[in-house]
């Protein structure tokens, strides 16, 4: 108990709470964007794409390259540079996502479930080592590009800061999620994806090209991960080849917490994981923040294996 009281003695007061809330929501937005990729791929081919965290890492590196390109091209306007890099990173990361599916997963379609899973772990190792060899093992810094923010102090203790970058991250995430929800719910591509998920043979009988639809799923998941990679590069200012591992597992935890296969679940799960991490770091021990996150995963798997918004496996058809 002494350990706990020492670990969880943190600060108090409304200002401190608000600051952790802001940090948690920002972090949650990033996890949510990555979690969508896990949950979509699980929904459509029933497999956990363990390489998805590394696709996010690739997205971060491509963003870094993008920023270097922008400065080489002499683009000094920060909004234009970020918009350009956003597009650049989404496109090239999507190419990685597409290629991974084409090379490592499609040949295993129809194989036992374990085979693509092992293939995914292999892809993860390949991507990490590829980036390590190509870019070096040391962390890569990026100078802060977006500065400034708002401070206020409702409790009078200290200044709560909401940076412009945090606002940008949350707004960008919200608009991407809204656009993405529209895509899935209202467009022919979205219907084709849901149909493929629910009954692949029937979807094909109705004219849906199943392989192409699965490719589209990987492309969308990878481009959302690229946005997360860009934001994390701007937010923390340093990236390395190992970035995708822990973030990937946390985003996967977010997807499971929300209910794997459920898109709103992935968004909600991401937010919750971000909040848990921020509040645990703020009030307890920063060293044990991962323990808190994965502790939640254990509890969810024990008490609600389908996640918060997941559907039960058995359904009347």
């Amino acid at each position: 108990m002494e350990f706990l009281s020492r670990a969880c003695a943190g600060g108090a007061g409304i200002d401190y709470f608000l600051q952790q809330l802001v940090n948690g929501v920002t972090l949650g937005a990033i996890y949510g964007l990555i979690a969508i990729g896990y949950t979509m791929v699980y929904g459509i081919i029933g497999m956990i794409n363990f390489a998805h965290g590394d696709i996010y890492m690739i997205g971060a590196f491509i963003s870094l390259v993008g920023f270097l390109l922008m400065s080489a091209l002499g683009i000094t306007s920060v909004p234009i540079a970020i918009a350009g890099v956003l597009l650049f990173a989404m496109i090239f990361t999507a190419v990685y996502g597409w290629t991974v599916e084409r090379v490592a997963y499609r040949p295993l379609r129809g194989a036992p479930r374990l085979a693509p899973l092992i293939s995914a772990i292999g892809v993860s190792i390949v991507l990490q080592n590829y980036v390590q060899l190509a870019q070096g093992a040391r962390v890569k810094p990026l100078q802060p590009m977006v500065q400034g923010g708002f401070t206020f102090s409702p409790g009078g203790e200290f200044h709560v800061t909401i940076s412009i970058l945090q606002i940008m991250i949350v707004l960008l995430t919200l608009s991407l999620m809204a656009g993405f929800t529209y895509l899935i719910q209202k467009t022919p591509l979205g219907r084709a994806q849901r149909a493929t998920e629910q009954d692949r043979t029937m979807a094909a009988l109705l004219g849906v090209d199943v392989d192409r639809t699965i490719s589209a799923t990987f492309v969308i998941g990878a481009s959302l991960a690229a946005v997360a990679g860009l934001m994390v590069t701007l937010y923390y200012g340093v990236i390395d080849f190992y970035l995708g591992f822990v973030a990937g597992i946390k985003a996967f935890t977010a997807a499971v917490l929300g209910g794997i296969g459920s898109l709103p679940g992935a968004m909600l799960g991401g937010l919750l994981i971000g909040l848990i991490e921020a509040f645990w770091s703020g009030y307890c021990s920063i060293a044990y923040k991962d323990v808190a996150v994965f502790g939640v995963l254990v509890l969810v798997l024990i008490f609600r294996p389908t996640g918060l918004l997941g559907r039960p496996e058995v359904e009347k058809v």
Binding site: A195, L205, D209, K316
Partner: protein, 242 residues
């Protein structure tokens, strides 16, 4: 319109279809009857490309479609309403119908939706409901309606009366006849309900253990004592014609 020659297919080491040949002429209703496990569903699925044909050929409208990928068949004018209905359970009735028109020109959608709803007015009040919550009869109507959304020239219907109440069965058969007459849609029907199916078909085939053993017009088979005995209620207990 459809010509199948010496078609063989199966699953793994088991060969289900052992050289099937049959023809369906433009505008007619052809029926395939046979006991459980005879290979009727396998024949329709092989037409759609899963499992793949191991031998023989399938020609539709003069075009060899033996190796055409499944998702391209609907673009050629073939709609397959599979056994067990295969409604997308977590999509609404409207979305199921939209998927029926997935491969088609969107400007025809409103007209085709109208046609489907005149055939099955019960679906109209269910449009926003999830497919999985419909009753069996409603699901079958939705499955046929969805199949018609692509304006097929050939409609493959697999056991449309399976598991339905007698009143609904009659409605389904009336609709099949109506589709054939109104839209001039050619129909290949697979049925266990031999009596009803033979009554409305122009041509019929009997399938036993993966081979066609008997064929003729619907009326001929209806009057055939072997068929009566084996496939219709009240028939004498005889062995299956082999």
């Amino acid at each position: 319109m459809l010509e199948i020659r010496d078609l063989r297919s199966g699953y793994g080491l088991i060969e289900v279809l052992q050289g099937i040949s049959l023809r369906v002429e433009t505008g007619e209703i052809a029926t395939l009857i046979g006991a459980n496990g005879a290979g009727k569903t396998t024949l329709l699925m092989t037409l759609s490309g899963q499992p793949r044909a191991r031998n023989g050929s399938i020609v539709f409208d003069g075009k060899d479609i033996t190796h055409t990928p499944m998702h391209n068949l609907v673009r050629l004018g073939i709609a397959h309403v599979p056994e067990g209905r295969h409604i997308f359970p977590r999509m609404t009735v409207l979305e199921n119908l939209q998927l029926g028109a997935f491969a088609c020109d969107p400007k025809n959608f409103a007209d085709d939706l109208d046609f489907a709803l005149t055939l099955f007015p019960q679906l109209e009040s269910r449009m926003a409901q999830r497919g999985g919550t419909l009753s069996g009869g409603e699901q079958q109507m939705l499955a046929i309606g969805r199949g018609l959304m692509s304006r097929p020239r050939l409609l493959l219907l697999d056991e449309p009366s399976l598991g339905l109440a007698p009143l609904i069965v009659r409605q389904v058969f009336d609709t099949i006849r109506l589709i054939n007459r109104e839209r001039k849609t050619t129909i290949l029907l697979v049925e266990q309900n031999a009596f009803q199916a033979l009554k409305l078909s122009d041509k019929a085939y009997v399938m036993v253990n993966g081979a066609i053993t008997l064929s003729g017009t619907g009326a001929e088979l209806l009057g055939n004592s072997e068929v009566q005995a084996a496939y219709m209620e009240g028939g004498l207990a005889q062995t299956v014609p082999a």
